[in-house]
């Protein structure tokens, strides 16, 4: 068997690195060689394909509050006292030596933990008030959509069922604003996708496509609106399909439910 070439070795190293990163082996990222560092950064960039999701203010408060509480409890011990294992040994020796006084010290420490927990719960309760801010945010979203629809540069892509569509009664529109990199999908005439299925919106780019959104419908003929940012360059069309849950690419084999490749301006 011939010796592997330099390119074969580098291909194998790359595949091994990707497998390690795929398994979640973060130590695989611990490489000093610049060439492999490029692959690690590229692997990390793949995450950018996921649609970013907004935090509501209540969640942000709970997240950062709980995180800081966890740090304060753990880090105070780490920073100013011996490591936790040694501390427990020291505490045990003190308890044995000082008897009742040691028991009182332990009770005081317990009370301190209780106070920390209650403070955390108080923060959570305050976070509930932040839901009001979320309502204001929703109102701002409505205003943003109105701006999108009425802007002078807004384009419209009508979506119609192609021949053979399983939803011949459905109709839709994608409203796009390239300068704001923003779009709004409106669809009517769809029913629930069915157990184990969902609707997926695709932006067509040349011969390929990129997933733009996925959703389901609660009741027959329920109007759907999906609003997002991110219009890919060179977009040539839009299609809506029905896919099994968890599928990342259209299965094919049947026509899309809705399709459109026009960009019209009204204003």
């Amino acid at each position: 068997m011939s010796e592997p070439t330099t390119r074969d070795r580098s291909d194998n190293e790359l595949l091994e690195l990707i497998d390690a990163l795929a398994r979640g082996d973060l130590e695989a990222a611990s490489v000093a060689e610049r060439r492999q560092r490029e692959w690690v950064e590229l692997f990390g960039l793949l995450g950018c394909e996921a649609e970013p999701l907004a935090f509501d203010p209540g969640l942000e408060e709970r997240l950062l509050g709980a995180t800081r509480g966890g740090f304060d409890e753990a880090n105070a011990e780490d920073a100013s006292r011996p490591r936790s294992g040694a501390w427990r040994l020291v505490a045990a020796v003190l308890l044995a030596l000082v008897g009742t006084n040691g028991w009182l010290l332990w009770r005081a420490k317990n009370a301190e933990r209780t106070v920390t927990r209650l403070e955390s719960e108080l923060e959570h309760a305050r976070a509930e008030d932040a839901r009001l801010a979320a309502a204001e945010q929703a109102a701002a979203e409505v205003r943003s959509r109105l701006d999108l629809v009425t802007s002078a540069d807004t384009e419209y892509c009508p979506l119609r069922p192609p021949a053979g569509s399983a939803a011949p009664q459905a109709r839709g529109t994608v409203i796009m604003q390239a300068k704001r990199d923003e779009w709004l999908l409106q669809v009517e005439g769809l029913g629930p996708a069915g157990e184990g299925y969902e609707y997926r919106l695709w932006f067509l780019i040349g011969d390929g496509y990129v997933a733009a959104a996925h959703f389901d419908v609660e009741a027959p003929d329920q109007p759907v609106q999906v609003h997002d940012r991110g219009l890919p360059a060179g977009m040539t069309g839009v299609m809506l399909t029905r896919e099994p849950l968890g599928v990342e690419n259209p299965r094919g084999g049947e026509p899309p439910l809705l399709f459109g490749d026009e960009r019209l301006r009204i204003l």
């Binding site: 611990s30 999701l53 935090f55």
Partner: protein, 196 residues
């Protein structure tokens, strides 16, 4: 500003930010949250298909960042990649340890998928542009090449597992992976250079 200057500026700002977190600055942690949380929540949700689980994962990640900021090594990866890999690793672990049940319509509504919206604040302009570039380049890949990368990243599958799941020869999977990674590396060279 040249690419090298941008890279140095990025490394300085990341070092300052993570250094402040390591020193116990909650405002620095808030800064990380403002810049990266939307992306990280999106990644976790994409992997787990469940928003509430994704939020739990993100809380674990932020606790880990808070406690282990000192362990971040800028020579190993950029800050964004470190955060992405932490989030992905925890989400994949949860995906493997829990069965992700089929979603009911109610769960889909709870995720806000029907009313899905993502927002980009002033600190996320770079993230938005990066996503736009990545989305466009991934869209240009042949379907089968994009599929292997997505299965590796979002499902945590190794090459062998991808071959089994897609009923494709292992050699074919490896070839597709190499072709896809090389194409993306060429197309995203500037983005990668700025992260080094």
């Amino acid at each position: 500003m040249s690419r090298e200057e941008r890279r140095q500026e990025r490394r300085r700002s990341e070092a300052e930010l993570i250094g402040a977190v390591a020193a116990g600055s909650s405002s620095a942690l808030t800064g990380i949250h403002e810049q990266y949380s939307s992306m990280l929540l999106g990644i976790a949700t994409r992997i787990l298909r469940n928003r509430s689980e994704a939020e739990e994962v993100l809380q674990e990640v932020f606790v880990q960042v808070w406690r282990q900021a000192r362990r971040y090594d800028p020579d190993r990866s950029s800050l964004s990649t470190w955060l992405v890999l932490l989030t992905r690793s925890r989400a994949i672990d949860r995906l493997r340890s829990r069965r992700v049940q089929q979603r009911t319509v109610a769960e889909v509504r709870e995720e806000g998928v029907v009313r899905h919206e993502s927002q980009s604040g002033p600190g996320n302009v770079l993230m938005r542009e990066r996503r736009r570039r990545l989305t466009a380049e991934m869209g240009r890949l042949p379907t089968e090449q994009r599929e292997v990368l997505e299965l590796a990243f979002f499902s945590g599958l190794t090459q062998r597992e991808i071959a089994a799941q897609t009923d494709t020869p292992l050699g074919t999977v490896k070839t597709r992976t190499l072709l896809a990674m090389r194409k993306l590396r060429e197309a995203l060279r500037e983005e990668i250079e700025e992260l080094l």
